[in-house]
């Protein structure tokens, strides 16, 4: 567990609000994410976690509020701009390229990172083979690199999701329920991967997760959401001791 004062704040959200018609999905969320930490966002279904993630990545525009990332205001900027600044998400519902191979998929992401997607005439993408293989190795997909993404197992598809995000060399990686639907073995591998990334690559990670053992096992800080608001926020052990949180969260889940 990190000493929080030692880390700079990488992402700072203030008063984020998002309405869907009359329904307020995210209701004035403040969030500070420190550089190099694993920050979990937990809460029951419908608490607004996924909407919050979509606001952070620019897929949704906030109705109100500000979003500062590494000193730059990002609220309302389109997804591709946010991604280039370094906020990249691995999606919850596997969102891959079904008929591209794992290797091609990562190459496509790398082409984007190197800003060569408008290149019509060179073989630049072929030179990315080594870099792509390295990314696939990091997430443990070397063996299935030449399989079409749709032919991969659920766990491998989720790992490919993470690989696509990693290919962008993100500064902040968002993982929306990375272990959802996984076998215990697969989710154990995923947790190890996330920990390794945070430690070795100095990556800042925001993750949402249902499994409480996972959350408190790997998080530096935890924010608890309920009905669009942040109820509690702090170092993981502190949040765990918070009786209110446990009542709301475990009460509705367990």
């Amino acid at each position: 567990m990190s000493d929080e004062t030692a880390h700079d704040i990488l992402l700072s959200a203030r008063g984020l609000v998002r309405d869907f018609g009359p329904f307020r999905a995210v209701d004035g969320v403040d969030l500070d994410v420190r550089s190099g930490t694993i920050h979990s966002v937990i809460g029951p279904n419908g608490a607004g976690k996924t909407t919050l993630f979509r606001l952070l990545t620019g897929i949704l525009r906030p109705t109100a509020g500000s979003l500062e990332f590494a000193g730059e205001q990002l609220a309302g900027r389109p997804t591709h701009v946010v991604a280039r600044r370094g906020i990249v998400q691995a999606f919850q519902t596997t969102s891959i390229f079904p008929r591209l191979t794992a290797h091609e998929s990562v190459c496509a992401a790398l082409v984007s990172k190197h800003r060569r997607s408008r290149d019509l005439i060179t073989w630049f993408h072929r030179g990315l083979a080594g870099e792509a293989s390295q990314v696939l190795e990091t997430v443990g997909l070397s063996d299935v690199a030449d399989e079409q993404a749709r032919a991969l197992s659920h766990g491998d598809q989720r790992a490919l999701e993470v690989a696509l995000a990693l290919a962008m060399s993100p500064r902040l990686l968002l993982l929306d329920e990375p272990t959802a639907g996984m076998s215990p073995f697969e989710s154990h591998k995923m947790v190890q991967l996330v920990q390794r990334l945070a430690k070795e690559e100095q990556l800042t990670v925001i993750l949402s997760e249902h499994d409480m053992d996972t959350v408190f096992g790997i998080s530096d800080r935890v924010s608890v959401m309920h009905q669009g608001r942040v109820l509690a926020d702090g170092p993981a052990p502190e949040v765990r001791r918070n009786a209110d949180v446990m009542a709301i969260y475990l009460g509705s889940e367990a």
């Binding site: 897929i59 984007s112 060569r116 290149d119 019509l120 060179t122 030449d146």
Partner: protein
């Protein structure tokens, strides 16, 4: 096809003529692999060249038409097969290519060669605003808006009599005499076709082509990877438009005229049919489709008064049983034969 904008063919793994989509990985013995992969296209070009000296005049003239349509269909397939965009408006550019040659001669006495070279640029120029507007819509709505542009272009060409000669179209001796000879005309068009297909093949096999396929598979995901999807689709639309216009200019050597039907949405349907018949997931499929469509059409009209009915049935059968078209079926057959041959040895 499961949805209108996104065509679910399994054909992606059959891409026989050039290095296929897996080519992102460098092959260990890349030079020999490259040589082997180049064999088929080079042999095909040689055969097509020799046909000029063996086929009769009538067939050669039909082949001129086939070549123009091969470029038209391959250019359309950049949208259809690679980008996953179903456009029913590519005839706008095909027609503009023809009219560039015909009207250049009619109004400004421009030489054929100048207008022929100009045609793809005019096509690209027109494709920019149309692409910017049409690509604001998705899937079915994109297809419908391209169809509307096709109809608009047709109505414009037909109604502006003073400029376009209306429904009659522009006829005249604007094609150089040399090219009106079936053989020289064919050879010239063959050369243009080979160069065009090489360029389009390179676009498919560029970083841009890879990203385009990724967009076809999942546009939101590509957006989240930092790519401006809209602009990339517009770029693909403009490139396709340029080559469609070139195909239109090629067609003039066969038709020696430019007329409003070339802009019509039914003309827009042809390259789509050709691509479906030949195989959208393959590079040479649409060209093969052009060959089959033209000769098949010539045979069909001899025996059936309502030949479109037969065409419809054929398309239905292909879509249902060979989603990757004839080229895909051939590639599979080739694979079966190769395995059988290896087993025997």
């Amino acid at each position: 096809m499961s949805t209108y904008g996104h065509l679910d063919t399994d054909a992606h793994d059959v891409d026989p003529p050039g290095p296929d989509t897996r080519s992102a990985r460098p092959a260990p013995a890349s030079r020999t692999v490259l040589l082997r992969r180049a064999t088929a296209p080079v042999a095909l070009t040689a055969v097509m060249f020799l046909l000029a000296f063996t086929l009769g005049s009538t067939t050669l003239v039909t082949m001129q038409e086939v070549l123009a349509f091969a470029v038209f269909a391959t250019a359309t397939n950049l949208l259809l097969g690679q980008a996953g965009l179903v456009s029913f408006g590519q005839a706008v550019f095909f027609g503009i290519g023809s009219y560039t040659v015909a009207l250049g001669w009619l109004h400004w006495q421009l030489p054929f060669w100048a207008t022929f070279v100009l045609a793809p640029f005019v096509g690209a120029l027109v494709a920019i605003p149309i692409g910017l507007v049409a690509l604001r819509a998705r899937k079915l709505y994109f297809a419908l808006s391209t169809l509307a542009f096709s109809e608009l272009a047709y109505q414009l060409a037909e109604s502006r009599y003073n400029f376009t000669k209306g429904a009659n179209g522009v006829f005249g001796p604007f094609v150089p005499t040399a090219l009106t000879q079936p053989r020289t005309g064919y050879l010239f068009l063959l050369a243009v076709t080979v160069v065009s297909l090489l360029l389009l093949w390179k676009v498919n096999h560029s970083p841009f082509g890879l990203v385009l396929r990724a967009i076809r598979e999942n546009r939101e995901r590509v957006q989240a990877l930092g790519v401006n999807v809209y602009l990339h689709q517009v770029a693909a639309f403009v490139i396709s438009g340029a080559f469609c216009a070139l195909a239109g200019a090629m067609f003039v050597i066969y038709s020696q005229s430019g007329y409003p039907e070339l802009l019509d949405w039914t003309t827009s349907g042809w390259p789509v049919f050709m691509a479906v018949i030949g195989g959208m997931g393959t590079f040479l499929g649409p060209a093969l489709g052009a060959l089959i469509y033209q000769f098949g059409h010539d045979q069909l009209v001899l025996y059936f008064s309502d030949w479109q009915l037969v065409l419809g049935a054929v398309l239905l059968v292909i879509v249902m049983f060979w989603p990757d078209g004839l080229m895909g079926a051939l590639a599979r057959l080739g694979g079966v034969i190769r395995r059988w041959w290896k087993g025997r040895r």
